[in-house]
């Protein structure tokens, strides 16, 4: 019996087989599309200039999602609202329960509701179906509010989403808010904006009694792996009241009285800054940019909050300092062990929003590691400028990348870990590179001081795993080490 592989070789090739083509044209092109040249920068090679916020190039397999995705991820963690996706089934299916956004109460957000448009709806319009779906669902699950998301084809068939929402709102007596998130009308950032506009419709619709002068809204945290609870606990220890979580573990009623808070804390500026600005204009609530990732950023954020409230409560700074001291004295000794092992290892970062990239660069520095590649799907010009400032020479900075580019950078820089989301994971693993999920799907809390420790554990667990020595890319390195001097050399490589 001939074996399968031998048989495959015996196959008469087609006029030009695919493998031949590959062999013929490998050097013809490099991995970066000419059109994308200005979206990749190598620090130190030329003066900093980078294009971003462009539409993704056709055929380039962008890692980006769509407007709808932007809206959906921001609003998703509002746990007691109905989230109805008006469109064909896919858009709803792929966003069902995809974020680990935890709730301390209701879990309506963990369902996926869709009007599941059919051919006849596309031809005759989906308004009637939307109306019936909405009213039926509201009766069935009694949400506190409803968000109705528009998708690409709804934008084309021209359903009057706003009209239907108004009608249902009148009939059912709850806020029914259209989200203008037609996928093709821009990228994820346009979706963030649509989500902010939708939420802004809720803000200011409920009384603001019993709100302390030391009060904040938390914007741009989605309570992945329970992170917002960590932040809330810190604020509580500082004596600061949280009015609304926007949107992790979020509640409609909290949003409605969010205008009663004294300050907005904005993390993940890309996704919720628009809401903060609207609230500033309308209600004169100032906002503060914060980040809860990494030791420095976490501590600095808390200090800034204390600074803001120091006139209202002179003791708040003392409490904050005590908090940071307590947390750090517990964290540092534990962190040191990880740092010893990880010192000198190399990292690559590719995340959705740039803010996370800043904190990650600093967090890696804390672990004694270097960052060789950093990029994001939706960073702005200022974001990239800032990245340029905080990174070391030689670092590659990239906007809206794709698997081919990312894989070639990983190989070129021979990194030990790649931080990204689900779509980046297999690229890393295929090449024998460690991976840390820093995206929606993570199950470990990475924010707060405890988050830094968890992050170190995550990094350690992948970078220091013994499995890499068996992967083809690293194997050569290891076997060479074994030949010369066994333990000695391996130790050297591992450290």
């Amino acid at each position: 019996m001939r074996s399968w592989t031998r048989w495959k070789k015996a196959t008469p090739p087609s006029p030009i087989s695919w493998h031949e083509i590959i062999r013929k044209v490998p050097a013809m092109t490099n991995t970066i599309f000419a059109e994308r040249k200005d979206q990749v920068h190598r620090k130190g090679e030329e003066p900093f200039q980078m294009a971003c916020d462009k539409e993704s190039l056709a055929g380039a397999v962008s890692q980006r999602a769509c407007v709808f995705c932007g809206s959906r991820v921001v609003l998703y963690p509002i746990t007691d609202a109905l989230h109805l996706v008006h469109g064909p089934i896919g858009c709803a299916v792929y966003t069902w329960d995809i974020r680990g956004a935890l709730s301390s109460g209701p879990e309506l957000h963990r369902h996926s509701y869709s009007t599941d448009l059919q051919e006849s709806d596309v031809i005759f319009g989906g308004e009637d179906k939307l109306y019936r779906a909405l009213t039926q669902l509201i009766d069935r699950i009694s949400p506190k509010a409803a968000f109705v998301y528009s998708t690409c084809i709804v934008g084309i068939i021209g359903d009057d989403l706003a009209g239907i929402c108004r009608k249902v709102e009148r009939e059912k007596g709850i806020p029914v808010i259209p989200v203008e998130s037609e996928g093709f009308k821009g990228n994820k950032r346009a979706g963030y904006n649509a989500a902010c506009r939708a939420m802004f419709q809720l803000v200011g619709t409920a009384p603001t009694d019993d709100i302390s002068p030391l009060s904040v809204n938390i914007l741009g945290d989605f309570n992945l792996a329970g992170e917002i609870w960590i932040v809330r606990e810190y604020l509580e220890r500082m004596g600061v009241q949280v009015v609304a979580n926007i949107t992790g573990d979020g509640r409609v009623d909290d949003l409605r009285r969010a205008h009663g808070a004294a300050l907005n804390l904005v993390q993940c500026s890309g996704s919720t800054i628009d809401l903060a600005k609207m609230m500033e204009d309308e209600y004169q609530i100032p906002f503060l940019r914060v980040s809860y990732f990494g030791v420095e950023d976490m501590a600095e954020s808390l200090y800034n909050i204390a600074e803001f409230f120091k006139d209202v409560d002179p003791q708040v700074m003392e409490r904050t300092k005590a908090l940071v001291r307590d947390e750090l004295s517990e964290l540092y000794p534990k962190l040191r062990e990880y740092r010893q092992a990880l010192e000198g290892k190399k990292a690559a970062i590719y995340v959705g929003g740039a803010f996370k990239a800043f904190s990650l660069v600093k967090a890696f520095r804390h672990l004694g590691m270097t960052v060789e590649l950093v990029g994001s799907q939706t960073g702005t010009e200022e974001d990239y400028k800032e990245l340029h400032e905080i990174t070391d020479p030689g670092t590659i900075i990239v906007d809206d990348s794709n698997p081919l580019e990312l894989s070639s950078f990983l190989q070129e820089k021979d990194v030990d870990i790649f931080v990204g989301g689900v779509k980046e994971r297999p690229i890393a693993y295929k090449l024998g590179v460690g991976f840390c999920d820093h995206n929606h799907e993570r199950k470990e809390a990475l924010e707060g001081f405890i988050g830094m420790l968890n992050f170190a554990k995550e990094v350690y667990s992948t970078v220091m795993s013994p499995v890499w020595r068996f992967t083809p890319r690293k194997k050569a390195l290891y076997s060479k080490a074994l030949e010369t001097d066994v333990c000695h050399e391996i130790k050297a490589i591992e450290n």
Partner: protein, 462 residues
Amino acid sequence: MKSKLLKTEKEPYVATTDSCKQCAPLGACLAFKGVEGSVPFLHGSQGCATYMRRYVISHFREPVDIASSSLGEKHAIYGGGPNLKLGLKNVMAKYHCGVIGVATTCLTETIGDDTPRLVKEFRDEFADELECHGNPSIVNVSTPSYAGSHVDGFHSAVRAIVDQLASNVPAMENTVNLLPGFVSPADIRYLKEIVHDFGLNPVVLPDISETLDGPAASEYEKVPSGGTPVASIKGMGTALSSIEFGRCLANSMGAANVLEDRFNVRSRRLGTPIGLRETDIFMDALKEITCRTIPIKYELERGRLVDSYVDGHKYISGKKAVIYGDPDMVVALTSFLTEIGIRPVLCATGAKSQLFKTAIKTVTEEILDESPEVLDNVDFYDIEETAEELKPDVLLGSSKGYKLSRKWNIPLVRLGFPIHDRFGAQRICQLGYKGTQDLFDMIVNAVIQAKQDRSPIGYTYI
């Protein structure tokens, strides 16, 4: 409109809650992934492609590149042709691929892009460039999601590949075409082994055994190796016979039917071979094609399977199962469960399928007195509502049923697609005698474990 629910007269639900299907282009992409050197390409907005990649990657844990024509607002108004062509050009230049599988999406179908025409125009306008990239084949398929689920998208794509590429240029001798439907990479490896052991050369389409379950690499492969070679697809018209799995697949959707009509290659339509009876039928077909007896290896596998049926039957006897997923997988699993003494009480699929009910009846009537409840075009809300009253002991299907399993505190045996909360989905083999054996062990153990977990006594001996 939803199927009428069991014993209830109430108005059917308008919205779909927790869907039990995915959208059509996703199925098409999976099919295209099984052709050697191919890159799936969605003609539509960027979002759809990214979402599907994420969804598929989470199941297979492999890189899955799906290109997109990335239409923006102005393309949606003036037509997506220019972006489609630009995208094809870019994919060709960067991936050096052998095939580009273009599937349409809801958006491009709604704005009325004539994709076949655009592809043809592209071929004419860029003839030189195509030439310099080794003339990759471009297959196109229409997959508006509002007209069908991922199951339809998958079959449409397989059919389009055959329709647009197959010919009667012989690639090798003694071939048999095997169109297995959407099964796992491990299943495909095993199927090839079986066909091979009968002395035949299998042309499996699509063959995702390597492309979606590849080895660790020293360099990133732009397009993963493996997949059905185009030369073999071109030779499909010269095969001894075609075997296509799927009792729920309409003849008008069968790829083997195309080969039969056009090249006179006999199409043998069989059930997906899970369980003894359906596998026997598959083996019989191979015996018939080759005029050979079944290789001893499979006799032994079969014998061991029967032996285990006997050894394990008491643990599972009379247990009630709810099965959900793609129609053909549900039918095959139902057939298998029926023969081991588990009672299927609800067979459900999110897809619309007219043949589903008949198929379930066909595979159960010989053994069961009472037909199970059969529902197509349902979501998990419907499934929950119906199944609640039926008090099942075990669930079989994708990860998405986990919430029900948790709520009712009964085991879920994860099969089908997607499996997002367990490891190794690409290596689950459930076809043939060997696959059935693994499946049988898994199910018996799931039932035993549930009993053990619930028992106040910590049995260590069962």
